[in-house]
């Protein structure tokens, strides 16, 4: 940063972003572009950047994960600082950030699954999609083991995460070529994979949430017989709904000799209760299309019905603030903003949150230009944060050592073997930087 440039009084000097997922990184990019001389720091409680991109996007969707390359550049050229292993609320307080930064943007997301709130929803054998995604993506802090999954599986939900679950249930090892899936977690499942899968959607195909491309993708996986039952067809003016119907019709039309697994989608199905004494035995439907059974015998129920808006612990660093979803504004108070899922609620994929990050960045810029931010003279930015927290921080260069170690450890057919343990990540950095 050039010290000799005249300081522009209408520009913030220090900007903090809490969370290095897509919303945080897109916001950092936009603000860094606007104020190239401001110090922009992106904090993360993990030792590694990119949040949902690294840990939420399915391991077999590497083409989606590739967007991190845009962010790599902002961090690598020193324009934006990454400060990993710095948890706001634990290693430093939100108040310490506010004292040292002109602008603080909260981008920590919402990550807890919405639980299935029907009788029997807590029986052993009922699994949330998040636990499976976490195991396959090797999420640390805490690392969650792959849940046990039986032969007969019911998936509740038919959005994109539910389809991520279906792909995982029907793919073979060979289908993960070129991915960074956590091999041990995957192998545990592939030792005895599911053979009968039923997917339940409350809405008809026309109104289901899954992207058409995600439906079509299922048809590329060999050895699977698809079928479906639908309730009300799409109206003539619902072009997208009709495309989705067509995609399901194409799936069901695929001829498969000796399928290794069958997948049956039931649209217009409403789960009533889960039956079982020690463990899941069956799921009872309280509504289903004509001709469909009302009882589904099963060993495992996977719920993929979205994220919990208000799950405890999602913002332990700011219990006093109200994080009710709001589309209109990202501003919480002067100098404090929120963006992405933490602002809008847990919906929309990466592009929608990129658009939101740009909106909130515009809002911040407008506020700054209207002098609605307090540039306090004593704010020292990153240097003003507790020394202990900074001493333990993982920089972007440090992360590169973790990255290299993971890429080096990749098994054949994989591009990386993720380190699952937070302390091992920190030890990897220490070993590389104290040579």
């Amino acid at each position: 940063m050039s010290e000799i440039l005249a300081t522009d009084h209408a520009a913030p000097r220090h900007i903090a972003i809490v969370g290095s997922g897509p919303s945080g990184c897109f916001t950092a990019q936009a603000l860094h572009r606007k104020w190239p001389n401001a110090e922009v720091t992106v904090f993360d409680r993990l030792a590694v950047p990119y949040g949902l991109i690294r840990y939420g996007v399915a391991a077999d969707h590497q083409h989606t994960k590739a967007i991190t390359r845009q962010f790599d550049r902002s961090f690598a050229d020193g324009g934006v600082r990454f400060a990993g292993n710095m948890e706001v609320g634990t290693d430093l307080g939100l108040d310490q950030l506010r004292q040292n930064y002109d602008i603080v943007v909260l981008a920590s997301g919402r990550w807890r699954d919405r639980a299935l709130s029907i009788p029997g929803g807590k029986l052993p054998g009922v699994v949330v999609s998040g636990d499976i995604v976490n195991a396959l993506n090797a999420v640390p802090r805490p690392a969650i083991p792959m849940p046990r999954i039986g032969r007969r599986v019911v998936v509740v939900g038919a959005g994109n995460v539910a389809l991520d679950m279906v792909r995982f249930l029907i793919k073979t090892d060979a289908d993960y070529e070129g991915s960074d899936v956590a091999s041990a977690a995957l192998q545990q499942y592939l030792e005895a994979p599911a053979t009968e899968i039923t997917v339940l959607s409350r809405s008809p195909i026309a109104a289901a949430k899954a992207d058409v491309a995600m439906v079509k993708e299922l048809g590329k996986i060999d050895g699977v017989k698809f079928s479906y039952a639908n309730t009300s067809p799409a109206t003539d003016d619902n072009a997208l709904g009709r495309k989705r119907e067509e995609a399901f019709a194409q799936l069901a039309a695929l001829e498969v000799d000796n399928p290794r697994v069958r997948v049956h989608f039931i649209f217009g199905a409403e789960p009533g209760r889960i039956r079982g004494t020690e463990h899941v035995e069956a799921l009872h439907l309280q509504a289903a299309p004509a001709g469909e059974p009302s009882v589904l015998e099963c060993d495992t129920v996977i719920s993929a019905i979205g994220f919990d808006v208000n799950a405890p612990g999602q913002w332990h660093y700011a219990q006093h603030l109200d994080f009710t979803p709001a589309d209109a504004t990202g501003r919480i108070e002067d100098g404090l903003y929120r963006v992405g899922w933490l602002k809008r609620g847990p919906h929309g994929a990466i592009p929608a949150n990129r658009a939101d990050a740009n909106e909130v960045a515009k809002e911040i810029i407008a506020d700054v230009e209207a002098d609605r931010f307090h540039a306090h003279e004593e704010a020292r930015g990153y240097e003003g944060l507790p020394e202990r927290a900074r001493a333990n921080a993982v920089s972007f260069d440090d992360w590169r050592h973790i990255d290299e170690a993971e890429v080096r450890a990749a098994e054949p057919g994989r591009i990386r073997h993720k380190i699952t343990d937070h302390d091992t990540m920190l030890a990897t950095v220490r070993a590389a930087t104290t040579k």
Binding site: F26, Q29, H63, A66, I67, R69, Q70, R73, D211, V212, A213, K216, E217, K243, I350, P351, R354, A355
Partner: protein, 152 residues
Amino acid sequence: MTITVLYGTESGNSELIAQDINDRLQQDGHESEVFDLQDFEPESITADNFYIIVCSTHGEGELPNTALPFFEKFKDFAGDLTGVRYAMFGLGDTFYEETYSQGSEHLDRRFTELGATRVGDYGRHDASSWDLPSDVALEWLPGVLGAEAKGS
């Protein structure tokens, strides 16, 4: 002559490429500017400028988010673009073979319908390859500029 770089994007990749192209052009002494298509009007297209359009593909071969409002206006736009020269760089993913890179083609077709001339090779980046999008675009750029210099 000003070179106007336009981009339509969903997740920011096209934006980054467009900015890299713009930076490279300025480094090489060209007069250039860059716009998101959502901040650009068809009425401002002029034969005095050369246009480079970077556009990704969304969903079923459709245009990305930020190109949609522009395309609606562009469809209804009745101006004559004879003499306007442009180059296209499309992003897509061969994983979706049927719709690979089709997002940008909607714009390309409309430019041609209105009388504009495409210059040089149609650039493409495939997300299923491990090539960095900007590397591919910056390798493609000199050929386009050469073709443009010959033609003008």
